[in-house]
């Protein structure tokens, strides 16, 4: 039987699932790994593990493997947490897997970016079940209906791994993958204080999220969860402002789906200008405060 299990790490994670299931042309159920109720997105069944927090990925993979029986497809929104757990799930099930699906041509043919997003590969998958992670920006997002309470399965969450500590720096700013406006900074932001003041301050003024390049993260200017690109977050805001970002292939891999890209860079030949919709050759320390003032809500 062809049926999709949408594995949602939390209730908001489920939101992007309806469009994805539609593109596959499959009926679907939602499994909430955390949370008790899912947004109304047309799932036939809404199930919940009963977990109050996410256990390590080995526990997630075994729990989901136990439910996989009735499904031809198991899928989650692409993120570090889903790649960690679903690839392990695919290993358990001996299932083929496709990561970062951006388009579906029916239930077994998918498009995905490869080589730092510089090429798109279409793959045909032969297997049952198929494990997938997908980028919601590639799929329609119907407005959710009334919340649906989940059937609690009380699944075990035992792991061989002990979580010793968690440091989550996430503050009041919107999540990069959800934000409508993103302001990103690169190496010229100098240090963590300057980044927070200039980029963080801009983000707060316009109600957006802050992002960073790998160079900025590697040199301690920005925390790792703000990295945008091939190996960081893939973003799709209405407006992406890149300030002091050279525009490496790896960084562009993460921003191509933005509606409008603005680049501010002192170097007129910086590659970022090749993909920016609007480019301003200027010192970010002068241009950003002025732009912030004008964009401020």
């Amino acid at each position: 039987m062809s049926r999709l299990l949408l594995v949602a790490f939390d209730p908001t994670d489920a939101l992007g699932g309806a469009g994805f299931a539609g593109a596959l042309g499959l009926p679907f159920d939602v499994l909430l790994l955390t949370g008790q109720a899912a947004p109304g997105i047309g799932a036939e069944k809404v199930l919940a593990t009963g977990w109050t927090e996410l256990p390590p990925s080995d526990a997630i993979a075994s729990a989901v493997a136990g439910l996989a029986g009735g499904y031809s497809h198991l899928a989650s929104v692409s993120a570090m947490r889903s790649k960690d757990a679903l690839a392990r799930l695919a290993g358990h099930l001996d299932a083929p897997m496709v990561t970062d699906v951006i388009a579906a041509e029916g239930p077994s043919q998918f498009k995905r970016p490869i080589v730092a997003g510089s090429l798109i590969e279409t793959v045909a998958v032969d297997g049952n079940p198929i494990v997938l992670t997908f980028r919601p920006s590639g799929f329609s997002k119907p407005a959710p209906g009334a919340e649906v309470a989940a059937d609690n399965l009380n699944l075990p969450g035992t792991s061989a791994v002990t979580r010793v500590s968690v440091s989550s720096r996430g503050g009041a700013r919107p999540d990069l993958t959800q934000a409508k406006v993103i302001i990103s900074g690169g190496r010229p932001l100098k240090d963590a204080d300057t980044f927070e003041r200039v980029i963080g301050g801009f983000a707060d003024a316009v109600g957006g999220a802050a992002g960073a390049t790998r160079a900025a993260v590697d040199s301690g200017i920005a925390p790792n969860e703000l990295q945008v690109g091939q190996t960081g977050k893939i973003v799709a805001p209405d407006l992406y402002i890149a300030a002091g970002v050279s525009g490496s292939t790896q960084h562009m891999a993460g921003i191509k789906d933005s509606k409008i890209i603005v680049a501010i860079n002192t170097d007129p030949d910086a590659p970022i200008f090749e993909i920016a919709d609007l480019g301003l050759v200027a010192d970010l320390y002068q241009a950003l405060p002025e732009l912030q003032e004008k964009l401020k809500k």
Partner: protein
């Protein structure tokens, strides 16, 4: 303690590549190949651990054609003790790779498997986790700090929202992220020394093959050419005309 490091030969991550004219794959004419940067970080990590504990043995393994000896030579030059080439012309997908790697693990019985979190060509991010599941070993993906002591690994890993630290009983699979370390520069001495280190060539023991078949490779549709503006004011006008901040 024995550390097995899995290494992949990939297109130079800084090269610009396009599709073949018939869309059947990636055009690799005049493109250099190198060790997947994430795997290079994995080798570096193994070597740093060995510098702290000289009793560690480091075995590098790759699955592929004989040209992959280049990448194994690099691993040996960085400090791996020996290498295994599972020599094959077969196509593999992450799932079949994890099966062949599982066979290597069964024959080598390492305490730790270190490998990149993803390869920069396929960007799949699957093999380490699939291998861990097959072996029934715990995993720590996206590692940014690794310590071993008393039969356990303590691994800090990058997450979507920050970082977390896990304690894993060994044996375990650890996949590396960019900030774990900066791989060393290889000197002539290392390259010379690598020549005398053994590379064991063996035939695959699993059928290989791929259930994720490439149908077409194409370029990304280009974004429409952008426009340069001369001032923040002009930028605001352009944004307003596109419905932003109006």
């Amino acid at each position: 303690m024995k550390i097995l490091v899995a290494v992949k030969r990939v297109i130079d991550p800084y090269a610009k590549v396009g599709p073949l004219a018939d869309g059947s794959g990636i055009d690799t004419t005049n493109v250099k190949f190198d060790v997947n940067p994430f795997d290079e970080i994995a080798i570096e990590e193994a070597v740093r651990q060995k510098e702290k504990d000289p009793s560690i043995e480091i075995v590098a393994v790759t699955i592929g054609g004989s040209e992959c000896t280049e990448q194994l030579q690099k691993a040996l030059a960085m400090g791996a003790d020996r290498a295994i080439l599972v020599e094959t012309d077969q196509a593999y997908d992450p799932s079949s790779l994890s099966k062949e790697l599982e066979a290597v693990v069964r024959s080598e019985s390492p305490d730790v498997i270190l490998m990149g979190k993803q390869a920069t060509d396929g960007d799949n991010n699957q093999v380490g986790q699939m291998l861990a599941a097959r072996l029934g070993w715990p995993q720590a993906t996206f590692a940014c700090n690794v310590q071993f002591s008393g039969g356990k690994a303590t691994v800090s890993r990058e997450t979507d929202t920050g970082e977390e630290t896990l304690e894993l009983p060994l044996p375990a699979v650890i996949t590396t992220d960019l900030r774990l370390n900066e791989p060393r520069y290889i000197g002539i001495a290392g390259i010379v020394k690598a020549r005398s280190k053994p590379i064991d060539r063996r035939a695959p023991v699993t059928p290989g093959g791929t259930r994720v078949r490439s149908v077409k490779v194409e370029s990304v549709p280009a974004r429409a050419a952008g426009k340069k503006v001369a001032s923040v004011e002009e930028l605001m006008n352009e944004l307003s005309s596109r419905g932003v901040g109006a």
